[in-house]
């Protein structure tokens, strides 16, 4: 049963969906506070390269090295996000252009490749990587084995993150405040909230999530450093936020759906079906489906006016509100 195509695609969809999920959760937090950050791809790549560096350089036991690597990746992602935050919150720059600048600065032809070359990371496989946590006998259970018990700790941690973000936004005081900041910064300001501080904090946390998403690639999926290894996952994560209507739980569903599309070419290639389409076609599926899904929700969302934080992408200037 566990070799059935559907089971494999779902299990692999969760693997490939996990970086999308982390990236989308981070972007969701930033967007809920009103900051659109199109730099996810760049932040992911820097997180990937720095996380990989940490694993290669810290000579400690596997679990400590991996934990440290995730920490380093999160910090690196947040550091890149800080540039965006400073430009758009303090200096009131255009959020779209600044986000694109982040991706160009940190992306394939920029800082991530610079660091990868300079730290000489490209040649070797990861010294430690994330493994399945549950015993082999559990993983052999039919259907639930590979899907639920065959995953690495990063997957289970992402489920906790979804729950925490969902509870944070709907059940806690600061979470509700963030939504106020994103929907009506002027009202939030009048309530005595520090709009800039909220936006800074959530943009940075969003960057940290993107960094972890990158580390998921370089320490679990690939697991090595290849320049540009995310191949557009950051952009799919941004699109995911749109078609999950800015809700963390829907992000989970969307991420696994797109994870399944992303994993399909690898699964088909490994199995060598005679009916398989050319690999280029199955590789383009996640991108094409992103467009299709985006069209479906954007017309609907436009009609229902439901979803996007009202002040998304707009700088808040107290004197000019």
């Amino acid at each position: 049963v566990n070799d059935a195509l559907l089971v494999v695609v779902i299990a692999q969809g969760i693997v490939y969906g996990t970086p999308l999920l982390y990236g989308a959760l981070g972007e969701l937090l930033a967007e809920r506070s009103g900051v659109l950050n199109l730099g996810v791809e760049g932040m992911m790549l820097v997180g990937a390269v720095m996380g990989f560096w940490a694993v290669q350089r810290f000579h400690v036991t596997t679990s400590v090295a991996l934990l440290a690597a995730v920490g380093v990746a999160a910090f690196a992602g947040a550091a890149i996000a800080a540039i965006h935050a400073f430009l758009v919150i303090t200096l009131r720059a255009n959020q779209i252009v600044s986000g694109l600048a982040i991706t160009i600065f940190a992306g394939v032809a920029g800082l991530s490749s610079y660091l990868g070359n300079d730290l000489d990371l490209a040649k070797s496989p990861a010294r430690h990587q994330f493994q399945e946590v549950f015993p082999k006998s559990w993983q052999d259970l039919p259907v639930v084995g590979p899907i639920v018990f065959g995953q690495s700790i990063l997957v289970y941690a992402s489920w906790v993150c979804v729950l925490l973000v969902a509870l944070y936004l709907s059940r806690t005081r600061p979470g509700l405040n963030v939504r106020a900041v994103g929907d009506s910064p002027a009202a939030a300001d009048a309530m005595g909230l520090n709009v800039s501080a909220y936006r800074y904090a959530h943009t940075l946390v969003g960057g940290a999530f993107a960094g972890v998403a990158g580390a998921t690639f370089s320490l679990s999926i690939t697991p090595q450093w290849i320049a540009g290894l995310t191949a557009g996952a950051g952009w799919i994560a941004i699109a995911l936020v749109v078609f999950s209507f800015w809700r963390p739980t829907l992000c989970l569903v969307g991420a696994y759906l797109f994870g399944a599309f992303s994993s399909l070419p690898f699964v088909l290639q490994a199995r060598d079906y005679s009916w398989a389409p050319p690999p280029e076609l199955s590789q383009s599926l996640p991108y094409l489906m992103t467009i299709v899904a985006l069209v479906l929700v954007s017309s609907r969302a436009a009609r229902l006016r439901f979803g996007a934080p009202a002040a998304l992408g707009r700088p808040y200037v107290r004197e000019e509100r």
Binding site: V108, A239, P279
Partner: protein
């Protein structure tokens, strides 16, 4: 306390001084990056500058790099002016390269000028058709053109790969043993080679002149025609445009097609001027489309400034290729481009706003 207040009038000297200072600050940051990674900054910059502009034949190579950047920069500038963020210049350039090469092979028997014009038209049409997808989706379904145009970049890159590596298409060279081991595009006939002119050792390809022509056309369109005026009104406020009776949806599609057509023309110029075949690896590794966004943003969407910035960044990119090696940090070019963009973006604040540092009133005076 630091206070930021809007300037009532913007002195002219500021719009000159601020960009210059921004660029200086960007290089200061680049210095820090180099120092932090143990590279000698001054020597690195000097080598960059020499390889870009001074060395023998460097200027010719810089124009080779600058020509596609001028096209993709104009592509981005045309759309960004209307607040349409077409970041699909990359894919639209590939699309133009595909259609341009196809037509070049198809009509190769015709006289050279006919072939060249046909390639230009085909390239522009290919880019425009691809850009029409995000344009129509944006106009009629209010789908984010940013994500759609970006996703299409990946799709077209895969299509190019399929045409040359994954199938036995018309564009793939299928003659001889070598071609079956190392797949590559079919070489275009001589009639499809675009002319170039040599002035004192400096080679100017036809594509570079076409780019200059396009810049003039874009300037004329936006500064002197009704269409351009309406586009800018809609860009500033779509609602105001609609109330004034402008057809906003048509304008969105038209501007996206125009933007894509310019990038597609750049793709055709890649075939005709430089590569003489459909060259998947060369095109997809060059990042012309993404760098074009940097060019447009640094030029503040002014078509003539795009030409100048494309020349400068082309030099940077050319130097990056020339110096690529063990002792020259790879990826530095992208880092410098990103830093330039950050600093120029951040610097705009100082044109629009005044920053005042006031001393915090001491508690004594406050009590009194």
């Amino acid at each position: 306390v630091i206070r930021i207040e809007r300037r009532l009038d913007q002195p002219r000297w500021l719009s000159l001084v601020v960009p210059v200072v921004s660029i200086a600050v960007a290089f200061l940051f680049a210095t820090i990056v180099l120092l932090a990674t143990h590279h000698p900054p001054l020597q690195t910059f000097r080598r960059l500058f020499q390889a870009a502009f001074l060395d023998n034949g460097a200027l010719t190579e810089t124009i080779v790099s600058a020509t596609p950047l001028a096209f993709t920069g104009l592509c981005a500038a045309v759309a960004f002016r209307m607040n349409l963020f077409n970041i699909g210049g990359e894919g639209q350039l590939y699309a133009g390269a595909i259609t341009g090469a196809t037509v070049g092979l198809l009509v190769g028997g015709a006289p050279s000028p006919v072939v060249i014009v046909a390639m230009m038209l085909a390239g522009a049409a290919g880019g425009a058709l691809l850009a029409a997808i995000p344009g129509v989706l944006r106009a009629f379904f209010s789908t984010s053109e940013i994500i759609v145009s970006l996703m299409l970049n990946y799709v077209v890159a895969l299509i190019i790969d399929y045409l040359i590596f994954g199938s036995h298409s018309y564009l793939r060279d299928s003659s001889g043993f070598e071609a079956s081991v190392f797949p590559q595009g079919k070489t275009l006939p001589d009639s499809a080679t675009w002319p170039s002119w040599t002035i004192q050792g400096l080679v100017i390809p036809l594509g570079a002149l076409v780019a200059v022509g396009v810049a003039f056309a874009v300037w004329f369109l936006y500064a002197r025609t009704r269409f351009g005026f309406e586009v800018q009104v809609i860009g500033d406020s779509a609602r105001a445009g609609r109330y004034a009776g402008m057809r906003t949806r048509r304008k969105i599609v038209a501007v996206m097609c125009l933007s894509g057509a310019i990038a597609g023309l750049g793709g055709a110029s890649q075939d005709g001027d430089f590569r003489h075949q459909l060259d998947p690896r060369g095109l997809t590794q060059a990042n012309y489309g993404y760098t074009g966004i940097v060019v447009a943003a640094l030029a503040r969407y002014n078509p003539f400034a795009v030409l100048l910035v494309a020349f400068l960044l082309g030099g940077l990119q050319n130097a990056g290729y020339t110096l690529q090696g063990a002792d020259f940090p790879n990826g530095l070019v992208g880092v410098i481009q990103g830093l330039l963009l950050f600093c120029v973006l951040g610097g705009e604040l100082f044109i629009r706003y005044r920053v005042r540092i006031e001393r915090r009133r001491s508690p004594v005076t406050e009590a009194a």
